[in-house]
């Protein structure tokens, strides 16, 4: 109780100091908006619906791209772990492409797909796919061989061993790979949205970009807060259940 009070006090003090400093005109109001004006912007934008609309456009791109990336990355990671040939070919490509910041895909995506939703999805998928693939591959390789041996003596074979033993045994790695993939997808989408305007939908990145063009610093900071909020919420909704499961079963440390 005392702990929460202290935290609330800290953030209240932070906001009040910020507001007072802006009022004392320490900085130009063009460069630093006051917390009250940011609040005002968020309130107005939520009421007229631009913010909600932009959030939905962004989330749609993010979720579709992310889940497509997972749907490709997980099975391909199993494949690279299983087959020497796939490891030497696709595995090498994955290792290389994983080091490429996914915003570097934007120029190519625009040339290939034009200013379309597909271009956005492509960038998100490229951000997700390779890190998920590599995490899956790693996870499968670190499964203690004794699990598969024990399963075989109980009559498990082939695909049964893969899906009932190898995949669940590598779950701790899969979850951290999925988290990393999510972080990459989110960053690459924001970069892409700030970088290019897509006429089929205005996302949060575009809102941020036009905030700068219009010198509307309250908009810039307000949208940044929303982006932080989505990041935190996604972590809670998408990954907390998995982490609770890992904690319960494996006894791994809570994060």
């Amino acid at each position: 109780m005392k702990r929460t009070m202290l935290v609330i006090l800290f953030f209240a003090a932070l906001l009040i100091t910020w507001e007072l400093l802006v009022r004392a005109q320490v900085w130009s109001p063009v460069l630093v908006p006051s917390p009250l004006s940011v609040g005002q912007y968020l309130y107005d934008a939520l009421r007229e619906g631009t913010l909600l609309h932009a959030t939905l456009v962004t989330l749609r791109r993010l979720l579709i791209g992310y889940f497509l990336g997972l749907a490709l990355g997980l099975p391909l990671g199993l494949l690279t772990a299983r087959s020497r040939f796939v490891e030497d070919t696709l595995g090498v490509i994955a290792l290389g492409l994983q080091t490429l910041p996914s915003v570097c895909w934007v120029p190519l995506a625009l040339l290939w797909f034009g200013q379309t939703e597909i271009a956005m999805l492509f960038v998100v998928i490229m951000g997700t796919l390779w890190s998920v693939l590599i995490a899956t591959d790693n996870g499968v390789r670190t499964v203690p061989p004794i699990y598969a041996r024990a399963a075989r003596t109980m009559g498990s074979r082939g695909l049964h061993t893969w899906f009932k033993v190898i995949v669940p045994a590598s779950l701790p790695f899969l979850v951290s790979g999925m988290k990393q993939g999510w972080a990459f997808a989110w960053r690459s989408l924001m970069a892409a949205e700030i970088y290019v305007t897509i006429l089929t939908g205005f996302g949060l990145g575009q809102l941020l970009h036009y905030g700068r063009e219009l010198h509307a610093m309250d908009q810039v900071v307000g949208v940044m807060l929303i982006i932080i909020g989505i990041g935190l919420l996604a972590d809670k909704i998408l990954f907390s259940p998995w982490e609770r499961f890992l904690y319960r079963r494996w006894g791994t440390a809570k994060q």
């Binding site: 699990y147 109980m154 009559g155 319960r248 079963r249």
Partner: protein, 271 residues
């Protein structure tokens, strides 16, 4: 044309027959002769202990009987049929419990049962709870593996191995990592379960006393290459106490034989 009446064999075949099994492990640099021309028969319902210093190939032989490894020469017959791979009629218990951490205790025991298609859900659950009861863990059905002590883990592993009702149980130093008190309890338990369920058990250990306590017969191995040196039959009444004087007499005999077969170059620090 007169038909010759066929002679019907009246004696059941030996449960396990190991015939002239040899095994080499080849690495890029060297080839290790792990097993040299091993022959061994195990009768139905017999409790056989394979004992010897580390590196004598006893675990390798167990893996070959399990079907997890293939011999370079010779073959293994189980119920008169050649072993070509692992199967649920020959269950293995490993030194580490090899329990699956993503499943709770009950689901671990159910794993092997779910691979038996002729059982219903209810039957599987009944069998699993029966065996968990047998090993004294009926109160831990929902527990997670990481919450169990080392001894409890091996009990779950034992229940998991027993549940699909294998005729043969292959145990690879299953109690080596446990403390002395837990081990003594498990010696009593395993003897009781063996008498009740009449399994054929092949038990690998480097602990001579443990071998004398559990086995009807103790098979002594020497290393490099792995060979069978001597066999001892232990005719003490059961259940046996690991600390009894009679047992110590047998253990001493086996121990001195073991030392006799070890030349100094084979000597290795054992645990």
């Amino acid at each position: 044309m007169s038909r010759v009446p066929q002679e019907v064999p009246n004696v059941p075949p030996d449960k396990l027959v190991v015939e002239g099994v040899s095994k080499w492990f080849r690495t890029r640099r060297a080839s290790v002769h792990a097993l040299d021309n091993i022959s061994l028969t195990v009768r139905e319902g017999e409790f056989v202990c394979l004992v010897g210093p580390s590196g004598c190939g006893k675990s390798t032989l167990l893996n070959i009987i399990a079907g997890l490894e293939t011999p370079d020469q010779g073959l293994v017959l189980a119920d008169g049929r050649p072993v070509t791979g692992p199967g649920p009629e020959r269950m293995v218990m490993f030194q580490e419990s090899a329990l699956f951490p993503w499943l709770n205790v009950l689901d671990n025991v159910l794993f092997g049962l779910k691979l038996k298609p002729d059982l219903t859900r209810r039957e599987r659950r009944e069998i699993a709870t029966y065996y968990l009861h047998l090993v004294g863990l009926e109160k831990f059905l929902d527990a997670n593996i990481h919450e169990l002590s080392g001894g409890m883990k091996q009990r779950v592993a034992l229940a998991r191995a027993l549940a699909p009702n294998p005729r043969v149980l292959l145990m690879d130093e299953p109690f080596a990592a446990l403390d002395a008190l837990t081990r003594e309890q498990l010696y009593r338990d395993i003897q009781e379960i063996w008498q009740q369920r009449r399994k054929t058990i092949v038990f690998v250990t480097h602990n001579v006393r443990e071998a004398a306590c559990l086995g009807d017969r103790v098979v002594l191995f020497s290393p490099r290459p792995g060979r069978i040196q001597e066999q001892f039959s232990i005719d003490l009444p059961r259940p046996r106490d690991i600390n009894s004087v009679d047992l110590a007499r047998h253990a001493t005999a086996i121990m001195s034989a073991l030392k006799r077969h070890l030349t100094p170059e084979w000597m290795e620090p054992t645990e």
